[in-house]
């Protein structure tokens, strides 16, 4: 910039406006740059500033005396304020501070998503709980069914054991009762132990005509020529027990079955004899 240019710049009036505080930010920066670059501008600016300061001094108004303490106290109080130490805080120290969350907004977004995720997980948990409960219910039902089955099996095993025990017991003799002329196709097997006096009917092998509801079969033993009641039974096969225990008898020469009114009779109705076996 030539001497004339600098002179023109000084005379443009921008320096005065600068001192009066009537410039934009760019104009301000421009004046400060010019003042740094050219001593003449600096000197001119300084003269204007000095004059204006002196002028402001003459136009000054003395504030109330008690204001001095109030203002100074507010500065002194602020001496302990953190802000006073900003200039002494190095940039490094500030760099060491890592914010936990960069901004409040991001924290809010984080909590929003966390809340949504929680709700989602809760729904999944509830569905899973219902499904698991149904499965548990199913399992319980199957377990009960299996237990029932198991009980049936064990009962069957016991029954079979009893049957086997009878067949293994040498004191038992199998007595095959054969059909009378009245019912030649009928047959019945009775096991009797003269030693233990027990009498059982092999229900799995009953071949007797069905009786009506009012009648039942009755087993008799003939001991010393007299019929002895050994109990009544139905001709229907009983799944629970293949061997039906009857009343005991110590001695018998023959076994016979008659059809009697339901509940049995004291004496056999000889005309209704279905099967008989003599020892």
């Amino acid at each position: 910039m030539s001497v004339e240019d600098i002179k023109a710049y000084i005379e443009s009036g921008v320096l005065e406006l600068y001192v009066l505080g009537d410039v934009s930010a760019e104009e301000r920066a421009g004046v400060e740059a010019m003042a740094l670059k050219y001593a003449e501008v600096r000197a001119e600016l300084n003269e204007i500033e000095k004059s204006m300061q002196l002028y402001a001094d003459t136009q000054g108004i003395q504030p109330a005396g008690e204001l001095r303490n109030r203002v100074l106290n507010s500065l002194v109080t602020n001496l302990g304020d953190d802000r006073n130490f900003r200039s002494h805080t190095s940039a490094q120290e500030n760099d060491n501070v890592v914010p936990m969350y960069k901004r409040n907004a991001s924290a809010a977004i984080f909590y929003k998503y966390a809340f949504a995720a929680s709700l989602f997980l809760l729904c999944i948990s509830l569905v899973a709980l219902v499904l698991l409960y149904k499965q548990l219910d199913n399992t319980h039902e199957r377990l009960v069914a299996l237990q029932t089955q198991n009980q049936q099996f064990s009962r069957q095993v016991t029954v079979k054991d009893d049957e086997l025990a009878i067949f293994r017991d040498p004191s038992f003799q199998l007595i095959r009762l054969k059909g009378t002329p009245k019912s030649p196709a009928s047959a019945l097997t009775v096991a009797w132990s003269a030693k233990s006096n027990k009498v059982v009917i092999d229900m799995a092998n009953v071949k007797l005509p069905k009786t009506d509801e009012a009648h039942q079969y009755q087993l008799w033993a003939i001991a010393d020529g007299k019929p002895v009641d050994l109990g009544v039974f139905d001709a229907v096969a009983d799944s629970a027990a293949n061997l039906k225990p009857m009343k005991s008898i110590a001695e018998a020469q023959a076994f016979a079955v008659t059809v009697e009114p339901r509940g049995g009779s004291a004496n056999p109705t000889m005309s209704e004899m279905t099967v008989i076996a003599t020892l």
Binding site: E11, G13, E16, L17, V19, L20, G21, D22, E32, A35, L36, L45, N46, E47, I48, E49, K50, S51, M52, Q53, L54, Y55, A56, D57, T58, Q59, G60, I61, Q62, P63, A64, G65, L67, R68, R70, V71, L72, S74, L75, V76, N78, L79, R83, N84, R86, S87
Partner: protein, 183 residues
């Protein structure tokens, strides 16, 4: 206060102490500049309690932003008076102040006149009377509008109904007169 020696430092020492936040800087700052700054603030807000608040805010701001000032930018006072002027203008533009001021206009004007009559006389400076003779009334009114009331030269041109170029010329002439006067 009257029996206390007013504190005064060279501008260089003051700036150094201020930027170190030494207590002596606070005292010197107030003693050296409070009346000049208060003069500007009072002319803008025109109300004693408000002017006192703004003066306090001004010193607090000077104190806390002292590190943004550099001697390369010019004189300390130029920087400070800008702060005072801006805070005072912010204050009168705030809603609170506008509402409150409606009811107190007359009272304030009276106190304003009282205060202005109380203008401090400093023997080390040339007399106010001489100064008034130095500046022509039209120069002084423009200078005061811009420097003390915070008008831009465009606003001053509108208010005084004078062309913008004339405003600029008068401002420069006024300051030239002051320079001659103080030298």
């Amino acid at each position: 206060m009257a029996n206390k020696q007013k504190l005064s430092l060279t501008e260089e020492d003051l700036v150094t102490a201020l930027q170190r936040h030494e207590k002596v800087a606070a005292d010197a700052l107030y003693d050296m500049y409070s009346s000049s700054l208060y003069g500007v603030i009072f002319r803008i807000v025109n109300d004693t309690p408000t002017a006192e608040d703004v003066l306090q805010e001004t010193f607090i701001k000077i104190w806390h932003s002292s590190n943004s000032y550099s001697t390369q930018k010019g004189r300390l006072f130029t920087w400070m008076i800008n702060i005072a002027r801006n805070l005072a203008i912010d204050k009168i533009r705030s809603k609170n102040f506008k509402n409150q001021n409606k009811n107190q206009d007359i009272e304030n004007n009276v106190s304003a006149i009282d205060k202005q009559n109380n203008t401090e006389f400093k023997p080390e400076l040339l007399g106010v009377k001489d100064l008034v003779e130095t500046l022509r009334p039209e120069q002084k009114s423009i200078l005061d509008l811009v420097y003390f009331k915070g008008y831009t030269h465009t606003e001053a041109a509108e208010k005084l109904e004078i062309p913008l170029g004339t405003i600029k010329t008068r401002l420069r002439m006024a300051i030239q007169q002051l320079r001659k006067h103080f030298n």
